[in-house]
Symmetry: C2
Subunit: 594 residues, 2 copies
């Protein structure tokens, strides 16, 4: 019931046909990124995910992380699994080789991250946050700090955390109160942070906290926030972990899901001040924070894909085994997989999972293309595309995961509600993904405000032009693509109309952008998913002409794209209506009368 098989075949298909591994391999430093290398890495990662992480998922949920005598003790088996993770080099795949990383593409990191998250979401949060910390340090810290901390963070010998939220400062970081007072070559940090994922544990001998705080003379608001590196243990002269710093986990949240991931309330400076080191310039913490956040946002999008796939796999397995009633074309009692309504649910689950995977990988690869492009204009175009796609890959994939994991429970019927079965855990675990690292509403505001309106819609229009050009390609592909083309055309038309509305009326009322943003994001996610499904179908159709092609696999890709076009693309009409309605009926009842 709780098994997991990495969907390597599907991943390779996305990498080869949609991301373009051949193009990736042409980027400087990527010469060795061959399909064979990718396959070898994916297979090894799949073994680790299925064999080591997946078996700890349910036991981790049941046991949870515990705070014992001031220390956070992780669930049984997690420390060994983490050690194996580090020894196998999984911590450093896409990290820079300057600090011991393997320098492989970010899109490959996304693929293996999908496996970690599908097999054990709670575990995977630990390395995910570490990656964010690494990126922030690498981009913004002094050479000395980099030299001191990065090697061990990259190897995974130490883990990293992000300390942003405070009770009064969740989405609104301007409200942060944690203080940093200069003292010699360092600062003394004091204050309380909440919702700190893997804020403490016993798996490694040190933890590197990145902490947002205010200097004494800091301006108010977000322009007065600085970023600090605060190690759990101060370092000895040899660079190893030494005496305890003045930071500790004081309590753990009792959460709906991801029980094995300790969500800590962290107290800094209860005994005078935690020693911290400035990362980046004074008062520039917000920019540094965004470095961590952007990274984490794609990561959370991948979590959505991952947990959706896990739920799908489990639902298919149950539907195949569970015999109940009769179905057309089946002699005698039938497994429920033969019931049309169960099949409908499984197809929604599969289509959404495949579409959101495609989008998340394609988005990740834009970062590789941006970093690897020598032409400045090309580099900027890829980076802009990456920035545009990030909030969609985060929010749409995780919203999709809510639906998919809930359908997973529904396919199981009464057994789905029983925790023993395991699928309820996927739904509970998935619930956080539309919230942390910025809620769906925040992603949608980022998309509409920062990523579209700020550059006058230039990056968006470049993408829409590409989508329009693809319509021609679909049209010339013949009758087998008619259904897909019909769905695609309607969806794209809706996106164009919504974008037009955004441009002409989006600023007529101050509440309009916020009111329409989520509908706009969901519309765009659905259309992009359909675009990638249609591209998959074209690739599958082409592959079918090759000798030795796996016909079942290719027909499956065509069938799922058809299903997406007929059953999921029509959702764009509802989202479009939500955009065109603007903010008037949303704001019609005064707040005090709700």
């Amino acid at each position: 019931m709780t098994e997991y098989t990495a969907p390597i075949r599907d991943m390779q298909f996305v990498l080869n046909e949609l991301v373009g591994v051949d193009r990736l391999a042409q980027l400087p430093g990527n010469e060795e990124v061959t399909p064979d290398l990718l396959e070898a890495i994916l297979e090894e990662a799949g073994k680790y995910a299925s064999g080591v992480l997946a078996p700890l998922n349910q036991s981790g949920d049941q046991q949870g992380a515990k705070l014992v005598d001031g220390k956070v003790v992780e669930a049984d088996g997690f420390a060994n699994a983490y050690q194996l993770f580090v020894e196998s080099g999984w911590s450093s795949i896409s990290q820079s080789s300057e600090y011991g990383g393997q320098g492989l593409p970010h899109v490959l990191q996304s693929a293996v991250s999908e496996m970690w998250n599908a097999s054990n979401l709670a575990f995977s949060l630990c390395p995910m946050l570490g990656s964010g910390a690494i990126e922030a340090i690498e981009k913004h810290a002094t050479d000395e700090l980099k030299e001191t901390y990065l090697h061990k963070l990259v190897s995974g010998e130490w883990t990293g955390t992000m300390n942003l939220t405070e009770p009064q400062a969740g989405t609104d970081l301007a409200a942060i109160r944690t203080k940093a007072v200069p003292e010699g070559d360092h600062y003394l940090i004091s204050g309380q942070k909440i919702f700190i994922t893997w804020g403490d544990h016993e798996m490694t001998d040190n933890i590197v906290h990145l902490v947002l705080a205010r200097l004494p003379d800091a301006p108010k608001g977000v322009k007065g926030i600085s970023l600090f590196l605060v190690p759990k243990n101060l370092l000895n002269d040899d660079g190893g972990a030494g005496t305890r710093n003045d930071v500790r986990a004081v309590s753990l949240e009792h959460k709906m899901g991801i029980h094995a991931s300790p969500t800590c309330v962290m107290a800094f400076g209860e005994e005078g001040g935690a020693v911290g080191y400035l990362v980046g310039k004074e008062h520039s913490g917000l920019a540094c924070m965004f470095t961590m956040m952007n990274h984490a946002r794609i990561g959370v999008g991948i979590q959505g894909v991952a947990i959706a796939d896990r739920a799908y796999q489990q639902a298919v397995s149950y539907a195949r085994d569970r015999v109940q009633g009769f179905a057309p074309g089946v002699d005698g009692p039938a497994a429920i997989i033969h019931h049309a309504d169960v099949r409908r649910m499984l197809m929604i689950m599969r289509a959404q999972t495949e579409a959101s995977r495609a989008l998340a990988y394609v988005a990740s690869a834009e970062l590789d293309y941006a970093l690897g492009s020598k032409d400045e204009q090309l580099k900027q175009a890829h980076m802009a595309r990456y920035d545009l796609l990030t909030p969609i890959a985060k929010a749409w994939s995780t919203e999709v995961a809510q639906e998919v994991t809930s359908l997973g429970v529904q396919v199981h019927g009464g057994m789905g509600f029983v925790e023993e079965t395991g699928c309820a855990q996927h739904m509970r675990d998935a619930r956080i993904t539309t919230i942390y690292e910025g809620t769906t509403g925040i992603q949608a505001n980022d998309l509409v405000g920062r990523k579209i309106l700020r550059d006058g819609g230039r990056t968006l229009m470049a993408l829409i032009s590409e989508l329009e050009a693809f319509e021609g390609q679909l049209e010339s592909a013949g009758t087998s693509m008619v259904t897909i083309n019909n769905g695609y055309r309607e969806g794209l038309k809706a996106l164009v109309e919504a974008s037009q509305w955004l441009k002409t009326k989006g600023l007529e009322s101050p509440n309009a952008p916020g009111a329409i943003a989520v509908n706009y994001l969901m519309l765009m996610g659905t259309v992009l998913g359909g675009w990638l499904m249609a591209r998959s179908a074209l690739a599958a159709q082409k592959n079918l002409k090759n000798a030795g092609c796996d016909e079942n696999f290719c027909h499956g890709k065509l069938a799922i794209a058809n299903f997406y076009a007929e059953h999921l693309m029509p959702r764009t009409q509802t989202y479009l209506a939500g955009v065109l309605a603007g903010d008037s009926s949303i704001m019609a009842i005064p707040a005090e009368l709700l």
Copy 2:
């Protein structure tokens, strides 16, 4: 955070304007059903719900029911709350006066049930299942059994359960194996039942189990199932509870939600056979079971409404208090209720809650009209309408509750994922409602098969005619109804088109009805919800002309109907597309290749 206020004003509005209390009062036996009486009952019920049940909701979730030394021990406070429930007469509101009931309308029962379920879903399951047992006994049992058991069930002195499911027989009751062997004036029952809600507890001195089982000579399949009454304790000569019968709870499920409601595995006849009495004729258990199920289905629909309202109330309260960032038109830091995207979520929650409440009450009242009508044709028409609306009120309301409770978590942001806050419990509790008493898929099959195709669409067409006539009424209502009318017209058009497809193509493929059923049901639920919201708007508009009218309340009804028309009615287009697509892309990937 976990407070609950019964929405008496909204309930009265539905009862007065949509159900028609004046018409109800004209039915024989209902002469005393005045608005004043209803108000008095609703207010008393509201006090009990807020004051007694609501405070036990979170503690019941945390503590859960426990199996201790072979007995199920309910959570702290539940026994006292149940005693008060019985003493206050809440058990017998709509029960027949022949056995001590108060004979009040079923729709009033629905309204107070909403309060019980909103304040404490786990608790409320106990009386809900008792009502189903009462109805089955009253309709099908011998006079002797009725006389012996009904008085104490109606008063609530004893509780009742429904024992249908076995491990191999969930949705498919044909697979039931529990045996009943005749012995003297009774039968000896043996077998195992699972998912038995409140199958055991210590709140009363007896429990009356209704159990589906097979006689030795029974035909195979559903035509060989009979219904038996099996008391937990055999009766003494004075009719009171005596020695233990051979039935016991052997384990409890560990569930995602409704922790305080014990979900029991029941063992009958481990020591030779549990004494049971035949209810109804031999082999006619399925018909008796449907009596219980239909009752319970409306009841579960009410649960959907209830938990949605609870989630809405909590989300509004949090959004009013939580200050975060800035919002247009608000000086300084703003409560999140002023953010347009939060407002959008709250409006979706409120609109869906109000629409599903209206539908559930209107459906319940059809039973009152059916039972109270002397004209046979009218009686049949009301009963057919009740039967048609029941699967929609069950499935649509509970699907809506999934969305609403999940949005409730989303409004809370990170705090929503923390169990302490309480809104995660609503989502976990709500998750069972689309599953038990027949999944959404089963309700949809019931709607499309039994309720529409079986009578050639006659009952459906009568309803559609009424919906079409209402369109004319809306059109003549003036410009303030234009938005509502536009939404309504589009929705109704979609329903007519989908119904036409069902009639002409619904039987062309054996998988078609199953494939389109859920989309059809959701389409119909959405349109019916919109119809009732539009009727509410007309009533509010009319009321606004009355002196002394509460203008805020009436403007609120107009605003919420507008929102529904603009933001929720467009979902009908997606459901319609799902119907028109039929089963081809749903069944395109062979089961073995999923």
